[in-house]
Symmetry: C3
Amino acid sequence: MFVKNCWYVAAWDHEVLADTLLARTIVGESVLVYRKADGTPVAIDNRCAHRHAPLSLGRKEGDAVRCLYHGLKYGSDGRCTEIPGQETIPDKLCVRSYPALERGRWIWVWMGDPARADEALIPDAFSLKHAEWRYKPGYLHYDADHLLICDNLLDFSHLSYVHEKTLGGSPNIAEARPSVQRLARGVHVTREVRNTVPAPYHARLGGFSGQVNRRFAYDFLVPGVLLMHAHVKPADSADDDMSGALQFHSCQALTPETATTTHYFFMQAHRFRLDDATITESIYQSLCTAFEEDRRIIEAQQRLIAASPPRPMQPIAADLALSQYRRVVEQLMEAERVSIVQPPAPRTPGTVASTAATR
Amino acid sequence: MFVKNCWYVAAWDHEVLADTLLARTIVGESVLVYRKADGTPVAIDNRCAHRHAPLSLGRKEGDAVRCLYHGLKYGSDGRCTEIPGQETIPDKLCVRSYPALERGRWIWVWMGDPARADEALIPDAFSLKHAEWRYKPGYLHYDADHLLICDNLLDFSHLSYVHEKTLGGSPNIAEARPSVQRLARGVHVTREVRNTVPAPYHARLGGFSGQVNRRFAYDFLVPGVLLMHAHVKPADSADDDMSGALQFHSCQALTPETATTTHYFFMQAHRFRLDDATITESIYQSLCTAFEEDRRIIEAQQRLIAASPPRPMQPIAADLALSQYRRVVEQLMEAERVSIVQPPAPRTPGTVASTAATR
Amino acid sequence: MFVKNCWYVAAWDHEVLADTLLARTIVGESVLVYRKADGTPVAIDNRCAHRHAPLSLGRKEGDAVRCLYHGLKYGSDGRCTEIPGQETIPDKLCVRSYPALERGRWIWVWMGDPARADEALIPDAFSLKHAEWRYKPGYLHYDADHLLICDNLLDFSHLSYVHEKTLGGSPNIAEARPSVQRLARGVHVTREVRNTVPAPYHARLGGFSGQVNRRFAYDFLVPGVLLMHAHVKPADSADDDMSGALQFHSCQALTPETATTTHYFFMQAHRFRLDDATITESIYQSLCTAFEEDRRIIEAQQRLIAASPPRPMQPIAADLALSQYRRVVEQLMEAERVSIVQPPAPRTPGTVASTAATR
């Protein structure tokens, strides 16, 4: 149902402070996210091995966490280190530990086989922490299957209709054909819209008296990470002249909470007027408004699909990227099914996870 | 689960204005109801064929509707006429169209095989639009299986108990035996209650100093349409003397939304003091109060049935009409099952529906 | 799923006044609880045999109850005594009657085979009505499987963690090993905690300058009834010297409403300063605060279990009593399954229940 062997964004850095015990459900599993004294993020099963009370209602004690139901204490590797009133601790009394690390301002968690956790697979969301870019972080909760939101992000023709009065502004966007390139773990999409009107939100940022050219170029990678360069500039400027361009870099991550609910971490960074906080705020507000427009229609779509007799969706040309992406996801899931059927390598969850977490 | 080959009341006329895109779920299907420029009602599947976004969040463009997710446009026959950025339109890219028409002040939709849509099957709710009758229209939403509400309407003995202080007034109503006659698509019920007290709501309408005779005579037709003549008059007047009678005609329609929720369209028209708006209002208020009394017990009944271990209901004599009606419904459903097993006639949903809608 | 052949607490006496028709769901069955004119409690199926309308929306008429949907009337033995407009009453037109009686201040209902209802099986909650004890009655509704609450009550190690700042006060409680004794229909648990600090709530009751000894000794009986003697006294007093002790007796009863919701009736009586109402109130408030602490973690535990992939719970030594209790429950359920497979003795529900109810 989900690709497991990949890095999921679990939280913004500011969601997990020194004392926080954050419970976050990812692909249906309740994960406890917190920090060791040195700041390193930890991700372990939120269910105490004993009676499945949530550790998020427990207490941080140094790098460990104590369940505040019957007092069992767990190290950051998921091993139980104390059972009140009991000398020996059975090996089985441990909770699963997930490889976790911080990159940019996101805390990433590997939900699959810890032995396969590979830092190189973390998407390069460079603008999350970069001196040349500014942004304000955003989060939305969706009552929808994350794949419906992936669909949305993989076909920007919706800007013309869903975001007519915000990020869009013209049917031209829908009319432009994007180019789509298959990647190992996703797709790359490029869409150019020439000689069009600036979007209402561009107008608010100022400076375009005439028509503009817009360009969107992004990777969209499992499990739902969009990394996009976008710009808008006067239509009469030379293609390689970026002097009058507004340049953006957007990082957005969809993390399925359950089969029908989704965490949505997002930001859109700007590379111009870095010291003007009103610009940062204006872009953030425009994004929030537009993403509410998306949420309204996607949650309605989800409800309609859930309530209606099943019926196939009919493909159109604009589905190229989303069809490709869904195929990538299916192939990765199929590969995981096959690898699970084969005998897995022996492993001790706590130990391996500990190794991964401290990389 | 539902009789499909029949006309369902989808809306009061005033619910669908010139610009309205009304989403209404009928027998589990989300239907978009709107009007063409000439006022003719249209009913099509509310799900865009592309990604199943609700067309009710779209935009009316002339007689057509545009999905405001990716911009697909549909004619009132359900055919797609435009896909942004795409030249050819596949035949499969259409939404189902339902035969729809307006009669009286109700918009009726045929939920079954369009080829069998027959206007002659529309129940004759004549008082919905008639110079000699006055009423105020009502609507209720029920969290209950529509059949439980049919049961209620098919046994007026409940007036003595549920409506003791509103429409009833005496155990006499429950004690009177109705006569029940089987019809092709329903039942006809007549109940006379002689030498009884006026109901509290009659008392408010004025004019009865002594005992009265009451008479209820109604057709109850699939899928849940009640058409009733009722009157109350002094008990000492001759049977054919209607000079002192208060005469009513009531049109009520139950439209299943889902298996456990129901739309309830209702009115009770009066044929006396036509120019006294306070009479019209008083009857409407009495009905609303009484129908809340019904809803309270029927929704409680629904919850109890849903939450309890299954157990057969025990029949009593008063069930005669409701048992007959349930048998009519089962026979019609069985007939539809048989007809579906046989090879259906080939049809193009859009075309046929269009024909039906413009009759 | 539940032991049926046992007495369940259905209500506090004050919940069922002379005119009350109380609907209370017990082990998934909606039961109507009311009193006859002489005060004797009655428990019958809340569903009218006719169309399953709730009798709790009906009307008491003497010792009988009338359904206010179609007017059927039932005696306190569950037999139908009147059907409006109908002479004969079929035998099947009766509702199930449950043996019911009042003991102390609780109304108990037998949910299993009435022929096996045995008053001797009612747990001896003597302090519910006793001149030497004072208390204020409590009730909580839980969104949790009652067995999770049984677990809680069967392992007081949680006092150290869940109730650190209320009923606990020290890890000593968790460190003390209880003794557990198997009973025919439950377990007996004794826990002594010596040389510990008084609990915060003891401190509020006053009088301890130094360390204390605490003792808890309780029966925990199906279907979830705790009957506990507890005391706290100066650690330096002789074991048999109760002069400086605060003595408590607590009666608590868990009644499953459904598989995942529970009624919780509770009180903790004190045997000291009987005429000081502030003591009674203070103990009640402490209990309410502490039981909210329990509810918070147990409902979170329930949600986590319901939402997570299934995984076995890992036993620890502190589970001794709860494991024993769960075994008792399983054995009683297994015994009931076997007895149901064998041909049951013929019985008329109404009659037998009537007998039981008037014992």
